[in-house]
């Protein structure tokens, strides 16, 4: 999984490179547009295009029937049921390409998510870093956090034995792409921490044996199986995303931009959606 993540992350790092130091909306716009168009190709290749057109035509046809038979109440109710049935047929026809789109779009969303869900720390900001130890054999008092220059411990660690968890508050003193180290005996685990004012991926958590966390945080390798830690997380600040003066969730922006692109190009590419 780490290899796949590293490959996909590498591609997206290149795609987002030109937008690193400009308004994040442009990166979102371009990636959403590209995604919309690529998804159109996948949709076309994996769907029953004739069937989808037929289903849509049925809905439109029954829709016209409402106008045509507006004076006949029984025909109108009959038409309503036909519209419902045709709509279900349309959704059924859309299921197959949706399943095919599920995986690639999920990866795209994850890549966008690591850039737009949270943002890196700014200088002067603090973040809580937590480590969850594997099982009850690890003595939390012996876990040491080693910070590089530029980062400073803001508060002494807090340990919750019941959860095998230990947390630190860290202050960012200087911009940089840091690696913090957790030591226990002769073992060590590393985790990145980003202090920068540009559009870069941030990894909120890394885990051992947790495919969900690994997939959702593709920019950093997972914790090795032999490690004393099972999960390390950094609470980054949420990114406030603005698209052309409107404060919206990045998912909404992606939805709208990709939809506009797909709608705009579907005719040109001859795709029935």
């Amino acid at each position: 999984m780490d290899i796949l993540n590293s490959l996909i992350s590498g591609i997206f790092n290149i795609v987002f490179q030109p937008f690193k130091n400009i308004d994040p909306v442009w990166g979102m716009l371009v990636v959403s547009f590209l995604t919309g168009i690529i998804m159109l190709f996948i949709f076309k290749a994996t769907s029953d295009q004739k069937g989808i057109k037929r289903a849509k035509n049925l809905v439109k046809g029954h829709f016209l029937a409402i106008r045509l038979y507006k004076d006949d109440i029984s025909l109108m109710f009959n038409t309503m049921s036909n519209i419902l049935a045709s709509n279900f047929l349309y959704m059924k026809k859309s299921m197959r390409p949706m399943l095919f789109l599920l995986v690639p779009v999920a990866f795209v969303l994850i890549q966008i998510g690591v850039r737009y869900e949270f943002r890196p720390l700014n200088v002067g900001e603090t973040a809580v870093v937590s480590l969850q130890a594997e099982g009850g054999n690890v003595r939390l008092s012996e876990v040491i956090l080693d910070l590089p220059q530029g980062l400073k411990l803001d508060m002494p660690p807090v340990r919750i034995d019941r959860l095998h968890e230990i947390s630190w508050r860290i202050l960012a003193e200087k911009a940089g792409d840091y690696e913090i180290s957790f030591k226990y005996g002769n073992q060590a685990v590393k985790k990145s921490l980003v202090v920068v004012e540009s559009l870069v991926p941030v990894t909120a958590a890394i885990a051992r044996d947790d495919i969900g966390t690994t997939i959702m945080n593709p920019s950093e390798s997972s914790i090795s199986d032999a490690s004393f830690a099972s999960l390390i997380s950094v609470v980054y600040p949420e990114r406030e995303f603005e698209a052309f003066g409107f404060s919206v969730h990045w998912l909404v922006a992606f939805f709208v931009f990709s939809l506009v692109a797909a709608f705009g190009f579907k005719g040109f590419l001859g795709v029935e959606v």
Binding site: G61, L64, L68, L101, V105
Partner: protein
């Protein structure tokens, strides 16, 4: 199969694994977004419309109650279903009935009645179905033939409709943009019975009844038929693409296009309609490439679309979009039929039908009815004369290909008919099936071994085509009967019958040889439509398929015959000389009777019609040259074309048929009775100008008639109500 399940399991797993991921909860792609958004919008809009309709329904019922409170009050039935089988011939039907091959028609006959149905003068579909629709003869509805003459030029024009371009235009460079839509004028006069029904609150579905282009505005839904043009504005012009440069160009009804072949690649273009927004009005073109894949398959590339053509197989309907400029597109539909890839590439394309989903001209009422049918059942032929008889006549399509085309179109009609029938809970549902007419036109020769059209053509294997068609139509009747209740009135009818067309007569040549028509000096053979006639020395001319007109002074541009006594004398002279005219080849009577138009027709348009109507004998018809106004020195000739059956003969010889699930009580029912009959079934009184009677009434005498309601400018002179055919 296991792999297939594996893929499903993979995706399901992926769904559940990724389902845990926060962003994927919300959105899984533009395709899905579209699907859900479109579904939602459609559902929302339809429920909103339904809600609005429901909300306003009581008000509309209230208004309708006062405006049309008499609807169905005196009705004898809630539903009338009319299945028109164009040209069904009584003698063939009776023979097959006797042989037990038409069980459904036999059942219908036993339930009610069967009779001959008197046809129109002349026995032509546009005239006949106009009589059916209006209850008046051609003197009242003004459709005397397919074509009518322009008195100032002697040139033909379509008798039922005229497309007039917008008069005001904006000129920008090479463009001349019309400020307004073209006007399509409906030239048939009088009022159809479905319009009258609509005025009484009775809804009708009228599908493909001839002479309904442009469609009428009425309380119902209508799909136009005969005379609806193709995108070229003609009544149907097919295209024939070939690499064979030695081929004779198609004479009538088609266009030959020589295309270039380079290896396995053929390039050409499809001719579209004239570009009406440019000053030059040049023909729009759509380039194509045909990649020959093997002997039997070709990939046709039209813009972005690739269509696989298989030899001797029709494609589905293919959309053609012609770009006029300024983003304006004119859309049509065609079917392709690959004839050959070697030694020459040969490709047939149907006439470019108006696309029912984006009609360039009005072909239905309401305008979206054609769209509605296309959305539900797929694209369909919209051309008036959709079955391409010319392509078989010209030898481009084979008999099998023509039959396949005719039945493909028939299947579309059948689907539309049953759909309309299902929607007609109360009211009228009328449909006319054309395949019956077209197939008989093209295969009548097979019924007679000595038919001249059999020469050089396969006959034996097509001997049962007509019989099979009657049996197929009987099946359609059977299916309809299953959907019709005993309280419904069900009528199966034809507008005229059919006879063989072995010999053609060119009456203009006879008129020339007998001194009634003179050619300009030095002209021995005219061009089409009298090009070369000396009108100043011409007293009579034959025009259209059955009319003879006298060249009357102050009526025709170069008229020479004085109205009054001279006119009457000449008319009587011609009727006498031509009635009983014999064919010197075999001494058979070629013309049984010539009819005086003024005695046959009633109504305000009698003077517009022919002065004399030709009543050809069975086996005869106007010749091909005669029909197009070509005058040479041949009066009689053999008909060797595939178009070997016809009905444009003495109307007494080609009555239609009527089967009904009601007893016919009227004497000698005729087409003219149909409108009054339907009105009567719905309890609507027959307007006085209608000439027929209710054929199901116990006693039609003394039936009250309503005041004349025929629309202006017609002024109907109240006349004794008699059938023209009696």
């Amino acid at each position: 199969m296991t792999r297939y399940y594996g893929v499903i399991i993979f995706f399901l797993c992926a769904f559940f694994v990724l389902g845990d991921a926060q962003p994927a909860h919300a959105y899984i792609g533009p395709g899905a977004g579209f699907a859900f958004l479109t579904s939602f919008l459609m559902l929302f809009a339809s429920f909103f419309m339904a809600f609005f309709t429901l909300l306003t329904w009581p008000a509309r019922v209230f208004i309708r109650f006062f405006k049309r409170r008499k609807a169905f009050v005196d009705a004898k039935t809630d539903r009338v279903v009319i299945l028109g089988l164009d040209g069904l011939e009584p003698t063939i039907a009776e023979r097959l009935l006797q042989e037990g091959k038409l069980p459904n028609l036999q059942k219908l006959r036993q339930q009610g009645s069967y009779s001959h149905l008197q046809t129109s003068f002349p026995a032509l579909s546009p005239v006949a179905w106009s009589v059916f629709a209006t209850g008046v003869n051609a003197g009242g509805h003004k459709v005397f033939d397919f074509l009518s003459r322009q008195k100032q030029t002697y040139m033909p024009e379509l008798s039922s409709s005229k497309v007039v371009a917008a008069s005001r235009k904006l000129t920008i460079g090479k463009y001349e943009i019309p400020l307004g839509k073209p006007i399509v004028r409906f030239l048939r006069r009088s009022k159809s019975f479905w319009t009258i029904l609509g005025e009484h609150g009775i809804f009708s579905h009228v599908l493909r009844v001839p002479i309904t282009f442009p469609p009428e505005k009425f309380n119902g839904a209508m799909l136009s038929a005969m005379c609806a043009p193709d995108l070229w504005g003609t009544q149907g012009t097919f295209s024939f693409f070939t690499t064979d440069e030695s081929v004779d160009p198609i004479k009538e009804g088609g266009d030959t296009a020589i295309v270039k072949r380079n290896g396995d690649r053929v390039e050409g273009f499809i001719k579209g309609p004239e570009n009406s927004i440019t000053r030059e009005k040049e023909q729009m073109k759509l380039p194509f490439v045909a990649n020959i894949l093997n002997d039997d398959e070709v990939e046709l590339v039209l813009g972005k679309e690739k269509i696989l053509l298989k030899k001797n197989t029709y494609t589905e309907w293919v959309e053609l979009k012609f770009k006029a400029g300024f983003g304006i597109k004119v859309q049509g539909i065609v079917r392709f039929y690959l004839l050959d890839t070697k030694p020459h590439f040969r490709l047939y394309m149907t006439p470019i039908n108006i696309d029912p989903e984006a009609p360039a001209l009005p072909i239905s009422f309401p305008y979206f009815y054609s769209v509605y049918l296309a959305k539900l059942h797929g694209k369909y032929a919209t051309l008036g004369l959709a079955e391409d008889t010319w392509s078989l006549n010209e030898g481009v399509l084979s008999e099998d290909a023509f039959l396949e085309q005719a039945y493909l179109i028939h299947d579309e009609r059948e689907t539309q008919f049953f759909h309309a029938l299902e929607k007609t809970k109360k009211g009228l549902c009328a449909v006319v099936i054309d395949a019956t007419d077209r197939i008989q036109h093209m295969f009548f020769r097979t019924l007679e071994d000595d038919h001249p059209a059999n020469r050089g053509k396969e006959t034996e294997i097509y001997k049962n085509v007509i019989e099979d068609m009657y049996i197929k139509m009987d099946g359609l009747v059977g299916k309809t009967m299953e959907k019709v209740g005993k309280d419904d009135v069900f009528i199966v009818m034809s507008d005229h019958g059919f006879k063989s067309f072995k010999r053609g007569i060119n009456l203009n040549v006879w008129l020339k040889e007998n001194g009634y028509l003179t050619l300009k000096e030095g002209v021995t053979k005219t061009g089409e439509f009298f090009d070369g006639v000396d009108w100043a020395k011409t007293r009579a001319y034959a025009f259209g398929l059955a009319g003879i007109y006298l060249n009357v002074k102050d009526r025709e541009k170069s008229g020479v015959v004085e109205p009054g006594a001279e006119y009457e004398k000449l008319k009587a002279e011609l009727i006498e000389k031509l009635s009983g005219l014999k064919d010197p080849e075999n001494d058979e009577v070629a013309i049984t009777e010539m009819y005086d138009g003024h005695k046959i027709y009633k109504g305000p348009y009698v003077s517009e019609g022919p002065d004399i109507i030709s009543g050809y004998n069975a086996g005869y018809r106007i010749s091909w040259n005669g029909a197009t106004g070509v005058i040479d020195d041949v009066i009689f000739d053999d008909n060797t074309k595939a178009w070997s059956g016809d009905h444009c003969i003495d109307p007494k010889l080609v009555p239609g048929v009527i089967f009904a699930n009601r007893k016919i009580t009227g004497n000698k029912p005729g087409l003219v009775d149909m409108a009054p009959t339907v009105l009567s079934q719905f309890g609507v009184e027959r307007p006085a100008y209608m000439l027929g009677q209710d054929i199901f009434a116990d006693n039609t005498n003394g039936k009250k008639v309503v005041p004349e309601t025929q629309p202006k400018p017609e002024k109907i002179v109240q006349k004794e109500v008699t059938s023209i055919n009696e």
